[in-house]
């Protein structure tokens, strides 16, 4: 079972090491992790996807909360939140596949953000399953390389857990 944890913390040197180290040290598996600044100077926010049952989730959350620079760590419920993931794919485009590819790009709402010679870089954004879906469709073509960010998620409406 996958859980999404949001961590609101001070943006200090080493905070990433403290958080990621805690996972490996306590035997928790990270599925994905993404981090960036927030609108408040000096504060960062992580979105971490972990595998495990409810007990594991609760233990992860409490251990995160113990870190001095973690202001709050909480579980994000999928039905009450929106989530996004971002991916870039570099494709070698064969002349006879160009039409098919353009159709798929439209279907999955991807964008061509670069084309150099016969190589395109596509951008895909959506929730995790939308990005999975796009990868599935493109995998029959010549993917040269690809990269995905981890998931980021925010609760809908007036829920403001970070404050």
């Amino acid at each position: 079972m996958k859980h999404t944890i949001s961590v609101y913390c001070d943006d200090t040197p080493g905070v990433l090491t403290r958080i990621s180290g805690l996972f490996s040290r306590r035997g928790f598996n990270i599925e994905s992790m993404s981090v960036g600044h927030t609108e408040i100077p000096g504060k960062s926010r992580f979105t971490i996807v972990v595998k495990g049952d409810d007990n594991v989730l609760e233990q992860v959350r409490k251990q995160l909360q113990k870190l001095i620079h973690v202001i709050r760590a909480w579980d994000i419920k999928p039905q009450l939140s929106v989530e996004r993931e971002h991916a870039l794919l570099k494709l070698k485009v064969e002349e006879d596949k160009r039409g098919e590819l353009l159709q798929i790009i439209t279907a999955v709402q991807a964008r061509i953000i670069d084309s150099t010679e016969d190589i395109w870089i596509l951008e895909v954004t959506g929730n995790s399953s939308m990005v999975d879906n796009a990868f599935n469709l493109f995998k029959n073509y010549n993917i040269l390389e690809s990269i995905r960010t981890g998931k980021i998620a925010l609760e809908r409406g007036s829920v403001l857990n970070a404050r």
């Binding site: 913390c9 001070d10 040197p13 080493g14 090491t17 403290r18 180290g21 040290r25 007990n55 609760e58 233990q59 409490k62 251990q63 909360q65 113990k66 870190l67 001095i68 620079h69 973690v70 202001i71 709050r72």
Partner: protein, 558 residues
């Protein structure tokens, strides 16, 4: 230096002075020389250890014996890595210490400079928090924050790593104020609703039991614990770390639980219907197989660290907060609810009858560990006993009843051999009014025995009793019981004369081979103004029982 300016080193030492620090246990090196230069001008006394591990254990022993924060100091690189065992020991037992380490100059960090190591990286998993101080002006606030973190909430070690050029850097005082810690707000008072529910559960219980852990002494909650137990006539058992949380001779006290627990204590755990567990983390040495632990009980778990609730054993009713406060509140409300403690008398008599049927079977004659420990208690009375780790530690837990809090110091969590001698030195520095004795095996004693030279140098009279069977006793016991007597790598052979070793360092060394000399040697040791080492040459390799050998706490060898 210009007027109004100070240096990092001076600011650090001043900050320590203003926090009331009296002693630093340390070992200098290239990267801490600016600190030592300032320390020489300070009222703080420096105890020069003989290895940095010892310095950390000394600070730890000081903290455990006094409740105050212990301070240790080491240089960069190997100095810092030598501290690691001591810091980890303090971390596992939630002991409040501050470790100050030197670091290579800022410009060299990351260059693999001479004596450079990533100290903060290495110590993240074994500290409550740590700092790499990049500007001298941050030092005063950092020290204040470090003491606050080490000594509040769930206590623990905090490390401050200071590059040598930061120690020398000049800055204007009154520059930086400590920012509030948004992410650190320990819960002190227990939730009133949870306390009310606990009262209901305790009152409904037929076979209630209190399980006391190390959290009791960290919270200085012994009086509150005894009051709670007496208010409702509840029996108490303890973990190794909780041994000194109640006078062991108390009518309601039924001994230590766990892997080497007493039969009556493990019976109490297995038969209780409600367990009030306070300041325990349900370590595997206390619980045995988790699925068989306290199967009949619902557990009220009281701890200051919310992450301990449900970590190993599910709690039916958690109460997060300070044990001292919560126990006082529970007692108050129980008394108000007119609880009838006499209905537990049958349960208590039952446990007492189990105890009667299962007396300790250690050798109470000859030069044998149980006999020596018993005689130490008879002669010495209420002292601080510091144990090392191994067979003698379990004997000490059973055969040395303690009367007062903070009088039984032991490395329970990490199980660090070599803890006892330096921890005892720290304890004696903290409590000069009390006699401090060490029980160690010959293996564990020899791991840090060089620290006796520090005790001699600073006239710190500790009494060290070596249970010498020329053997790593616990390894021998485990190979005996679990590995078909295939003894390997546990024989230390008759090589070292520990009495002579002690004499060579200026301590008193006594060797005892006959029973008639045990008491007089102990008396002499207690009266001495110098450190004393008594090398007891044991008659036999005696196993430490009880010992759990099966899947439940009652599958026990006696």
């Amino acid at each position: 230096m210009k007027k109004g300016k100070t240096t990092g080193a001076r600011a650090l030492i001043k900050a320590l002075e203003s926090r009331g620090v009296e002693y630093i246990f340390g070992y200098p090196g290239g990267a801490t020389l600016p600190l030592y230069d300032e320390l020489a001008k300070s009222s703080i006394k420096h105890i020069l250890a003989r290895h940095e591990q010892g310095a950390a254990h000394m600070a730890d022993g000081y903290a455990r014996a006094s409740g105050k924060v212990g301070v240790c100091m080491a240089t960069s690189g190997p100095g810092a890595t030598n501290l690691v065992t001591g810091i980890a020991t303090a971390f596992m037992d939630s002991s409040p210490i501050i470790a100050i380490t030197g670091q290579v100059p800022r410009a060299m960090i990351g260059n693999d400079a001479f004596q450079e190591v990533d100290t903060t990286g290495i110590t993240i998993p074994i500290t409550k928090h740590n700092y790499l101080v990049k500007r001298a002006s941050e030092l005063p606030a950092t020290i204040e924050e470090a003491f606050y973190l080490a000594s509040t909430g769930r206590k623990g070690p905090v490390l401050i790593d200071i590059p040598s050029d930061v120690q020398k850097e000049e800055f204007h005082l009154q520059e930086v104020k400590r920012k509030p810690l948004e992410g650190y707000k320990p819960t002190i008072t227990g939730h009133p609703g949870q306390i009310r529910r606990a009262i209901q559960q305790i009152k409904a219980s037929k076979r209630p039991l209190i399980l006391a852990g190390g959290g009791i002494f960290h919270a200085d909650a012994t009086d509150e614990l005894i009051e709670l137990a007496e208010s409702g006539n509840f029996p108490i058992v303890y973990t190794l770390m909780g041994k000194a949380s109640i006078p062991n001779s108390h009518r309601l006290c039924f001994g230590m639980i766990g892997y080497h627990g007493r039969v009556e204590a493990n019976t109490a755990i297995s038969e209780a219907d409600t367990i009030v567990a306070i300041g325990v983390r349900f370590s595997n040495r206390s619980t045995g197989k988790l699925q068989n632990f306290a199967t009949q009980a619902s557990i009220i778990h009281i701890d200051i660290d919310p992450a301990e609730i449900g970590k190993n054993v599910p709690a039916t009713l958690p109460i997060v907060g300070d044990a001292k406060h919560i126990l006082a509140e529970l007692t108050k409300q129980l008394k108000k609810s007119n609880i009838d403690g006499s209905k537990h008398e049958e349960w208590i008599l039952h446990l007492a009858s189990v105890r009667k049927k299962h007396p300790l079977r250690g050798r109470m004659e000859g030069v044998n560990t149980p006999n020596i420990i018993r005689k130490l208690k008879e002669v010495a009375g209420d002292i601080i006993l510091v144990t090392d780790v191994g067979k003698h530690q379990m004997f000490a837990a059973h055969y040395f009843p303690v009367d007062t809090p903070r009088s039984f110091l032991t490395s329970g969590g990490l199980g660090t051999m070599g803890f006892s001698v330096p921890a005892a030195i720290g304890a004696k520095v903290a409590r000069p009014d009390k006699k401090v004795a060490v029980i160690a095996g010959d293996g564990s004693f020899f791991m840090t025995s060089q620290q006796i030279a520090s005790a001699v140098q600073y006239n710190i009279p500790v009494l060290i009793l070596i249970m010498n069977d020329y053997c790593l006793g616990m390894i021998h016991q485990l190979q005996d019981v679990l590995y078909g007597k295939r003894y390997n790598a546990c024989d230390l052979e008759r090589i070292v004369d520990y009495a002579k070793l002690a004499e060579s360092m200026g301590a008193v060394g006594i060797r005892v081979t006959e029973e008639k000399d045990i008491e007089s040697a102990i008396s002499k040791g207690l009266e001495s103004e110098r450190p004393v080492v008594i090398d007891f040459i044991l008659e036999e390799k005696e196993n430490a029982y009880p010992m759990v050998v099966g899947d439940t706490l009652l599958d026990i060898l006696e």
